[in-house]
């Protein structure tokens, strides 16, 4: 079942443009959104959350246009980024105490469970947390309000290999629970480890949006790893 649909998204900047971005996310699957730095990943994600106003295109969640039902749809979406932290000097507990008031679906038992599972000390401030822990805090907030879709912008950036692996394992567990995970990355090995589907963006255009096996079948040359394939495509063949 299609959970998220991005259709002909366009955004023009003086020196960069998103050109007719279209893809969809299937229920209960992990989709890796891959592309080099500056390819348009964050702009696309921000557009998907109405933080950036596209010049054209439609974003639909659960078959409902996001623009017309933003507040209610956001209750079913979780967002996280590995690069920004909110209220760095407030205690996690105080932030959570405010956030949970906005969600009638807030599950206190689930919150306590993830607090323990992710080993988060809620008396700490985001300033005192590592990058990996910040991502986990955002994930915990999303999961405690029972987000059905997780949109994660570069969640593995800046993480050590152990934390990255741990996070990718969490994605897999969430996928098994029926959560749809969409995460952007420029680290191709992340896709090899856990992605079911790949959306590959290059220079503001979607080059491929398909399942990982189909991608490999269509683009990989004999003996090539996924990383080698994408590096080769990015190296010149993509828009040639």
């Amino acid at each position: 079942m299609v959970i998220v649909e991005v259709k002909q998204l366009r955004k023009q900047y003086p020196s960069f443009a998103l050109k007719d971005i279209s893809f969809h996310l299937e229920s209960g699957r992990i989709t890796g959104f891959v592309g080099r730095n500056g390819a348009g990943k964050t702009t696309t994600i921000k557009s998907m959350l109405n933080m950036i106003h596209p010049d054209g295109g439609v974003i639909r969640y659960f078959d409902t246009p996001f623009a017309d039902h933003e507040a209610e749809l956001k209750k079913r979406i979780g967002y996280s980024t590995g690069t920004v932290s909110w209220y760095p000097r407030k205690r996690i507990r105080d932030i959570v105490d405010i956030v949970k008031r906005f969600y009638d679906t807030w599950d206190e038992a689930a919150y306590q469970k993830y607090l323990e599972l992710f080993a988060i000390d809620e008396t700490k401030t985001p300033l005192a947390l590592s990058e990996g822990m910040k991502v986990k805090v955002n994930l915990m907030l999303a999961l405690a309000h029972k987000a059905e879709v997780l949109i994660l912008d570069e969640p593995t950036s800046g993480l050590d290999p152990f934390s990255r692996n741990e996070l990718l394992e969490i994605f897999t567990e969430l996928r098994d629970q029926g959560v749809t995970v969409f995460f952007s990355t420029h680290i191709i090995s992340d896709l090899e480890k856990c992605a079911d589907d790949i959306v590959y963006i290059s220079k503001g255009q979607i080059f491929a949006a398909m399942s990982k096996p189909d991608f490999i079948r269509q683009y990989a040359e004999a003996g090539e790893s996924l990383e080698d394939t994408i590096l080769r495509l990015e190296g010149g063949a993509v828009h040639a």
Binding site: N50, M51, A71, I98, F102
Partner: protein, 217 residues
């Protein structure tokens, strides 16, 4: 909206916003331009905008399950709450100066503007100007607040100077009325000040909604 206001108060606000409410009590100070107290209250609010920006408050709020215009409404509500609390302290000072201390030599011999209902109305106008120039100006970008605040400072002190000077102009002495003298005029001036505050705040809020809808975060 209750939750949005709570978020503003507990996560976005700087403690200085709350402490600087006490500058409303400057309406008790004799021989001092009492409207400067209004400026200090707005300075406290400015600190909240500063700390909120450092905390990525606007982006955080944009991810909450609320409409974008509620973010703007929340900021205006918070600002009005602080202004309202300061107004109550100023009103207390004015009432005491109009009644208990109406004959006090220290206030009667005051060369500066008397803290009467006209002064209270003028305070409302300055709060309204803050909401129009600074808060409205902030939502042009939801990021830059230096220019709107500098502009507000210029306008604010021009307004303070004007209010201080008015009662020295022949024919306008009643603006400096003591106690319940010329109470009808005083009440009309207070009502006018409140009306201007409401008008500037509502118009600024509406304009800010529209601007904020167009901003890329």
């Amino acid at each position: 909206m209750r939750n949005v206001l709570l978020k503003e108060m507990r996560l976005s606000a700087s403690v200085l916003s709350y402490l600087f409410i006490l500058f409303g009590l400057m309406f008790f100070v004799p021989g001092y331009p009492v409207l400067c107290g209004v400026f200090f209250v707005t300075l406290g609010i400015f600190h909240s905008f500063q700390s909120a920006r450092e905390a990525n408050d606007i982006v955080f709020s944009a991810l909450l399950p609320i409409a974008k215009r509620d973010i703007v409404k929340g900021k205006f509500l918070f600002v009005c709450l602080i202004e309202g609390c300061a107004f109550l302290l100023m009103a207390l000072a004015v009432i005491l100066r109009m009644t208990v201390f109406s004959q006090s030599a220290v206030y009667r011999g005051n060369a500066m503007m008397n803290a009467n209902l006209f002064a209270l109305g003028a305070a409302c106008v300055i709060f309204g100007l803050f909401n129009w120039i600074f808060v409205g100006g902030f939502f042009k970008t939801a990021y830059k607040f230096g220019r709107p605040f500098v502009l507000f400072i210029v306008v604010c002190f021009t307004a303070i100077f004007t209010a201080e000077a008015l009662h020295h102009i022949p024919g306008l002495e009643k603006l400096n009325a003591f106690g319940t003298d010329d109470i009808v005029i005083q009440l009309i001036l207070l009502a006018a000040g409140i009306l201007i505050f409401l008008l500037l705040t509502v118009l600024s809020c509406r304009k800010a909604w529209k601007r904020f809808e167009r901003i890329d975060l």
